[in-house]
Symmetry: C2
Subunit: 367 residues, 2 copies
């Protein structure tokens, strides 16, 4: 692509880590954050990669994201925990929790954690896959303030809460489903804005609640499958935010009247853009299920291999040359980018240069 | 509706229970089965109600469904259990498991059970709501042999595995999401066949893998949201059947060659019709999460009330006069039918009469 630069992932990782250290994070936390972002870039999920660095910096500046959080386990049983993230950046608290739920699962078969008050968890598949790599089934979902119209409404009322589920295979890479409950993830709207192209009807609504094909006019995403995506998103809020005593949909819904001011409208700006407002708070469920509690792990992985092989061998639908299992296209990108580097568009390069300058961090070769 | 008869639910319940006793089930199991079927009818989910009675009887006759199962807890931890259902009818084993996971959740915050080798679990929302009524969040999903085309395939390869999630409210009825991972549940195809009306394009494929509007030609349902519904269905199989050491998709996928015989084609007949073949085996996950482990139960329920009120007060989309939360339309039907009786179409009445005759069971007044 014109103006695109390829950067080796290792150098980009080092750069990212260094920036987060300068932002005030302990080195191990900066390492966690860099790992999550580079993983997303390597898999082609660029909306959750290094393009976010300037935004993270801005949010730390504003005091929204906390580079030195006091993460606390508020409640705990052998199988569950409730964790206060103190506005930690997502990967910092989530990796801590992943390790703890895996320990619990090894002891009692399942570990089920609620995290409250984290900020931007990033690509959820990162954490579920981490659990799959430890012979667990991993489940993660997260809730934010509203950016999606519930079925039947013409304004946002639920979040397009994503869910990731991963399980390990033997010959194959882990199955890794990572999906939003909207027709498309917010990142696809961003991308259309950046490319100056229209979006298909059915993805989103404008400020009048009408279907729009102009990505700049998007005010509310639409749920996948109408009441299904809408219902899943709502139930995720009930299982995470409300259960953690920290609802994020309810205050937004009940505060609607007050929020029709100009400032309020900004708060309600939709899609991933909501992340840019100070109220950027998330709650998440992170769960690990220990396969060996129920069945033989090696045999489990062989079954998953067979399942993958069987699905891929099915007769293709018209217009398809290959059937992909969840996470497979991203794994291909991962292989390619691990070898050939991560492509960064001009805008991202420009932003990273200015971050580098501000913090006096050396840019990766090529940038 | 022409030829429709209204029957009081209590009488229909008694009749149903009596039939299942004559079929060979212990009275308390027959009671469980009747409870699940009548609940579905009361909520308007007639595809999972008493119309299934003749089919259950047939499956018990064939030895597919076991009226006297030896239900065994094969493995157990304080938080998890693996249960062998011995081809029990769904409600019999599932209600047993619901009670056990609720006990576990009360002790360690969560109870997560896998049930293997059950037959026809029925309306999943019945069990999740049962847990909500005990101040739990309830989650249930189930996997069957393939009836849905994975994204990119033109034949069935996954099941349209449904999931139900319920949580309690205070003033309101529990939120109760109960959805298939296909565009529409198999029951809607049945209904179109019964009514002799076409189905919209996008619901299903015919035997050549082409979109069909003829409900009689349906061979594979289509997943909701393409890769999303398809991916969720696949991951549910990985979390239930494969985890329970009893895969149901894999054997069907790997045995495809053998199944192109005439007999095999019958096996692959799609939609809920798959249930009619002897291989009718299901595996399920049943989970309870104890709200009081994480937060104050009364406060939780008030938050859910507020959430419901807030959502329902949102500005409506064009063509909508009301916004419904998950389970709400069914609750309205429940209220109405509890008062005015359950309407049964001619065909169902005829079938129930012949069941009554066979077993010498007295029909409910009006039938």
């Amino acid at each position: 692509m014109a103006g695109e630069v390829r950067v080796a992932w290792e150098a980009l990782h080092e750069f990212t880590k260094e920036v987060f250290i300068r932002v005030g994070m302990p080195p191990e936390d900066a390492e966690a954050e860099a790992g999550a972002l580079i993983w997303a870039n390597l898999r082609g999920v660029d909306s959750h990669g290094v393009l976010r660095i300037p935004w993270y910096v801005e949010n730390v500046d504003k005091g929204v994201m906390n580079p030195r959080p006091n993460i606390q386990v508020l409640k705990e049983t052998p199988a569950t925990m409730l964790v206060e993230a103190d506005r930690a950046l997502g990967p910092v608290v989530t990796i801590f929790v992943v390790n703890r739920v895996v320990e619990k699962a090894k002891k009692v078969g399942i570990g089920w954690a609620l995290i409250r008050n984290l900020t931007h968890q990033g690509a959820l598949g990162y954490y579920s896959q981490m659990m799959a790599n430890k012979d667990m089934a991993g489940i993660v979902f997260v809730c934010n303030p509203p950016n999606m119209a519930p079925y039947g409404a013409r304004v946002a009322g639920v979040h397009n809460s994503p869910i990731a589920i991963s399980v390990p295979a033997k010959r194959h890479r882990p199955l890794n489903l990572d999906m939003a409950t909207s027709v498309v993830a917010g990142g696809k709207i961003w991308l259309a804005v950046d490319k100056g192209i229209p979006i298909p009807e059915g993805w989103a609504l404008d400020k009048d609640g009408k279907p729009t094909t102009d990505p700049k006019k998007v005010e509310a995403l639409l749920p996948v499958g109408g009441p299904k995506g809408s219902g899943l998103a709502l139930m995720f809020e009930c299982l995470s935010s409300v259960m953690a005593g920290n609802p994020v949909l309810e205050p937004a819904l009940l505060g609607r009247e007050a929020e029709t001011s100009e400032e309020g409208k900004k708060v309600e700006a939709i899609g991933e853009r909501l992340s840019y407002v100070p109220r950027h708070i998330q709650n998440s469920v992170v769960a690990a299920i220990d396969i060996s509690t129920f069945t033989d792990v090696e045999s489990y992985k062989e079954h998953i291999d067979n399942l993958i092989d069987g699905l891929k061998a099915l007769p293709k639908a018209e217009g398809f040359t290959e059937i992909f299992v969840p996470g497979e296209p991203e794994e291909r990108t991962f292989e390619e980018r691990s070898r050939s580097g991560i492509p960064l568009p001009e805008g991202t390069v420009r932003n990273l240069r200015s971050v580098a300058e501000r913090f006096g961090v050396k840019l990766p070769p090529g940038l």
